[in-house]
Structures are given as C-alpha cells and as structure tokens.
Symmetry: D3
Subunit: 135 residues, 6 copies
C-alpha cells in the first residue's frame, strides 16, 4: 500500500455565518470572519490516494489524471467563487475549513476508482488546515 498526494489550488470568497443566529451572535462567535461583505483565501488542497502501484506503470493513479479529476470535480467549482452562495455541493453548508474539507471528500470520493481516496487536506492559511479521512 503506497500513498500518493497531489496538490491543487483555488482562490475563493466566503464568510462564516449561521443563518439561524442574529448578526450580533454571529459576530460574537465568528468575529471578523462574519463580515457580511465577505473575505477570502488562497486555499491549497492536498488529495491523497492509496493503493498498490500498477506493475506496468508504477502508478497507483496517474498524477495527471488525478489532477484532472480534482480540477473538474472540485477546483473548477470553487476557484474564484463565493463558497456561501455559488457552489452546488456546499449549499446549506457553513463554509468552515472543516465543513468544506468534508464536503470535498464526499464530492470527490466516487470519482477515485484507481486506488482509494485516503485523505482530503484543506489548507486555508499558512497557519490553519483541516484533514478528513472518510470516517
């Protein structure tokens, strides 16, 4: 069993906001992250796939193919977008690093057929990242 990781990027706007709370409560909990005029990040996405290398190629999964899957299914839907209001698979998701990370796993997992999705790591800033392993 070997693990292969591919990094991709997207730049997006978001805010942290619970619709069932008052604005005061949102600012109390989320601070400046609740700004109704949005803020944004350069997100880095690390996708890890595990499996046995194919003896003919030495690949668990072709990294170019993995890159295309991540771009088509994830990065193209998130890049230069507003995570709160424009992304089909984030509808009704409060876009914390943790929640977006898990939503990316659920979106991506069915498309990883060579090897098995092992980890989604989403880095929001150089100081904060989340990881999800599917359970």
């Amino acid at each position: 069993m070997i693990y292969l990781t591919r990094r991709e990027h997207f730049n997006a706007a978001h805010r942290l906001y619970n619709k069932t709370w008052s604005d005061e409560k949102n600012f109390e909990v989320f601070g400046k992250c609740a700004n109704p005029n949005w803020h944004g990040h350069n997100y880095e996405l690390f996708i890890t796939v595990k499996g046995d290398p194919d003896p003919n190629t030495g690949f668990i999964i072709n990294a170019q193919e993995l890159s295309r899957i991540i771009k088509t299914r994830i990065a193209d839907k998130l890049d230069h977008k507003n995570l709160n209001i424009e992304v089909d698979f984030l509808k009704d998701v409060l876009p914390s690093t943790e929640n977006v990370c898990k939503a990316i796993w659920e979106q991506l997992e069915p498309y990883i057929v060579n090897g098995k999705l092992h980890c989604v790591k989403l880095q929001e800033t150089e100081n904060i990242y989340a990881e999800y392993f599917g359970e």
Copy 2:
C-alpha cells in the same frame, strides 16, 4: 544604508471590475476575476525601510514598531475586508495587485519616520506579486 523588511498578512475579498464597462467587457478582460459574487486571497505584504542603523539600538527602525505601524495603518483596514467596497484608501481604486500595492505605499509612507520607506511588495498568490518603490 541598510534595508530592513517586515512581512505582514491580510485575507480579503475582491473582484476586478471597471465600472465604466459593461459586464460583458469586464468578463472579456478580467475573466473569472470579474465574478460579481467576489473571490479572495491570502495577501502577503513585505514592507522595506532603508536607513542607517541607530548606534544605540542597531535598528533602522524597531521591527516591533514597524509591525505596529503596518498593522494599524494597513493590515487592520484590509484584513477580512472587501477591497472594492470597504476600504477608505481604496475608494475608486480598481483593486489589481499593482493598484493596491501603490495605494498601500501612499497610505504608509507618511508614517515611516525612522528610516525611509523603500519598497512595498504585495503578494497575491504564490505565483503573482507587485512591487512599488515610490516613483
């Protein structure tokens, strides 16, 4: 003459949009950067001050003091903000990396009194940055 550089950060939302153009023209020129729902970045700001070190301290400018000036005059006004609509010194500025870089210089320069402001470098992504030297 020695040059001292201090790095600070801010995370912000923006869009590239020329108000005098149609939406079609904006998308043609700016592509996905024109998204009306915004996108955002982790901006890194490198401020370089030049001067002769004070013989008593070895400092051109105390780096803690420089950090405080950058935070008070620049980063606190930009962090977790929308660069198009919330920042006093960016009013009527199309927030390209180049324009924001120059606007930061103009805002910051009067407050650098120990040493002289030499360069404002603004990094928008790991692939793009702008620099302004005041002329």
Copy 3:
C-alpha cells in the same frame, strides 16, 4: 472525525547537555549542540485537534480560541526563552526536539476540551521535526 491543525511559533535558546556526563562526553555525543554558550532556533509548532464539527459553527474548536490556548499555555512560556533554565514544565528535561515535543503535549492536553488533542508536531529546523500522538 475531522482533524484541525493550528501553527504557532516561538524563538528560543537551548543546548543539548546531560548533567550526569562530563563535558567531554557531552561534546562527543551532542557535538556543537552542546555549546555551553547556547544556540537557538525558530521553532514551529503544529497542534492537531480531532473531533466532530459543532453543527452550529462548523468548528471542532474555534481556531482563534485554539491559538489563544497554545499561546497562553505554551508559546508565551517558550518564546524568547532559554529552554534549559527558564521553563517551568521543562525543568529536568533534556531539551531535544523529541523531549520538548512530548512535554508540550503533557502541558497542553488538559486544556483542549473542545475536541481531543491528536498530535503535537515540533519543527526545529527545515530539516528536522518530531511528532507525538500521546502514547
């Protein structure tokens, strides 16, 4: 179960020195790291907490709160300090990367009450880091 990691920093002096050994033995084993006049590092600390995100916030633990806990309990006690002689929770600890890493876990673990401490990673240089998972 999601994992959230927060990075913090501290700059400190130390030396590697076993009090029960002669100076010769210390230099033989630790080389220049045994220098009695000390040396130092920019330490990077990565704290990983695991848990289920709170449905109201999307957070395992508020990253700002996590940052405050790490600063108060760990970084403020280590930053700009001498690890051999000034830190209460490193008394009688030979400050190798491994030992400091484990000591930080023991110090921090009781204060992580939202989520559960999963990993302390301590990076001493760009070439060396230690990780401890609590057992």
Copy 4:
C-alpha cells in the same frame, strides 16, 4: 512512541518508460514524462523513525547519525544520477515516485537500528509526493 523526521535532498534525471511497450504506448500513457532525452527533479526525501527517546540523550536516533545513514545509503547513490540506468537498487524498477519511494524503504530499513523506520516520503515536485509505511 515519538516520531522523528529528517529531510534530505537529491537532484536526479529520469524518464517514465515501460520497456515491454512500444514508444507510442509509452507516450500515450506517460506523456512528456517518457521523453527519451530525460528530464529531472529536485527530490526531497523525508525519513521518519519511531521509538522511545533514550533517557540519556533525549534522542530516538541522533539526527546527525540519521542524516549520515540517509546520505550514505540513499542520497549519495541518487544525487546527480540517472534513476533509470545508474542506481544499483533501482535496476529494473520503473522510476515512478511510488516505486522509488518503496525502493528507498527497502534499501534503508536494515540500517535503521536505533528506533524503527516508520515512513519514507518522497516529494518529486511541490505538487506531488508519495509515502510508504512498509506494508
């Protein structure tokens, strides 16, 4: 149980090429990575050893000694070399990131006698890396 990681480097040439396939098939599968005139990378190698710190030294393994083992057994054999044709322990190995990572484990594992080899991570570019844990 604590985990200690040491980073080392090597710069090497390689190509992805299955000798049992036609050139056309190789280009179809490996694209420009099949270039018969080679290409190359700055590889970063992260070796993780696990164990209990020695009470006398605070070390699982002396990081200087670990560095020497990695250099002698691995990096000196790969640095400024052609991975397809010059490395004894890569003979008949298609040098994908996955395969080289696993071959490094098999080469290195017998020499780690203080502590136990836990992970070999091989980073080929800033966007791709493989990890092997020995099973």
Copy 5:
C-alpha cells in the same frame, strides 16, 4: 513605475559540460554536475515586468497573458526536456544557471510589449538562483 512578477515552472535534465575540454577536466571543474548520464532540477522561473498600470484595468500587463507568453515562448520549450540537446535557443549554450537565465531573457524580451521586461530570475534549487536585468 510598478513591477509585476509572475512565477512559472519547468522540470528539465541537464549536465555541465564544456565540449572543448577532456572528460577529466570537466569532472575536475564541474564535479558530479558533469555526469554524462545527466541529472535534473525543478526550475522555478520568476519574470518581472515594469510599467505604469493601465487606468482601465489596473494592470501593467494582464498576469494571465504574461503567463501564456512565458509558457509558449519559454516553459513549453524547456519543460520535461534536456537543456543540453533539445532546446533551440540553448544550442551551443553551456546550461549553467547563469547562462540559461540570460538566454531566457533574450528569448522572452521581444514578446513583452505591454510594459518592459525588467528581470529574469531562475531558481535551480532552494539554495541557488541567478538574476539578469538585460545589461
């Protein structure tokens, strides 16, 4: 006058070799960099263009357009190639970091028509880079 920098990449093989010297002389001067079986690097290329931002766009040069020019004129010709034998504009150039940097300037300069090429920076490893300013 503002300066805009765009980063691109290419991975390539090369060797340092003076055709007019004996193999012994080449190994004496270039050491392992003279290996006849090649070695390689992940090169990072930083292209800096200077000019006044267009009032309509805020751009010296559209960074997407700059990226396309660098890719078409430079990176596509160097990526996954052998710098000694496959690159038209490096024919008869000893591919040291310095010489490749200068050759990229000469190749790229005529195509930068919005703004003016200011600097080509070519990073060969994390420890070595060259810069050329056109004179």
Copy 6:
C-alpha cells in the same frame, strides 16, 4: 552582468542588549529580545555575487566554491554559537539583524574574488530580514 545567489544557514543564540544602558532601559527598548538568558534563531543567509559568466564554465563563480567560502568565513563561525560573546568579527557589535548583516559583508567581501559581492541578505525569521549592498 548577471547576479548569482547562494543560500546558507546557521542556528545561533543572541540577545539585544546595549551595555551602556541599565537593564530597565534595555527591556524598555528591546522587550523580550533583551532576555539575559538568551534566545535564538534559524538564520538564513543569501549571498549575491555579480559579474560576467566565464565563457568556459558559464559561471560567475562556482556555486560550490561560493558555498565553501561562505561556510569557512561566515557560517562555521556563527553556527551553534552565541552571537554576543563567541564571534571574533562581532566583538562589540550589538547583534541586531541589520548589524550582523553588515558585519557579514565586511567579513566576506575580501574573499569574493571571482565576481564582486553585491548583496548580503540575512533572514532572522520568516517575517524579518535585512539587506546590505556595501554602501
């Protein structure tokens, strides 16, 4: 004229302290950097040499030779040392980033005979660095 830069490292202890001031004054000006028990950093040193490449080698200066000069004249004297009390060329120098940067220039400049020393850049943390160009 091409510019070649080589990076080297050293880890050292220091404190900021003006001997002619009281302890109170030192703490008022330098804050925690005045700690009498020292603190330390992982310093990164970037040495830039300018010149015309030798037609026979493509080098301004052989980067391996440059590395040896920097190590012998600078890094070996600073690595794992106390900058306030152990370094001959820092005697009576208050070891601020600015002052150490300039002292390194003066120490190194006579030994750069292939090409001409252009810049010494000394990075103390990821947020602070100084540069000196010799005048």
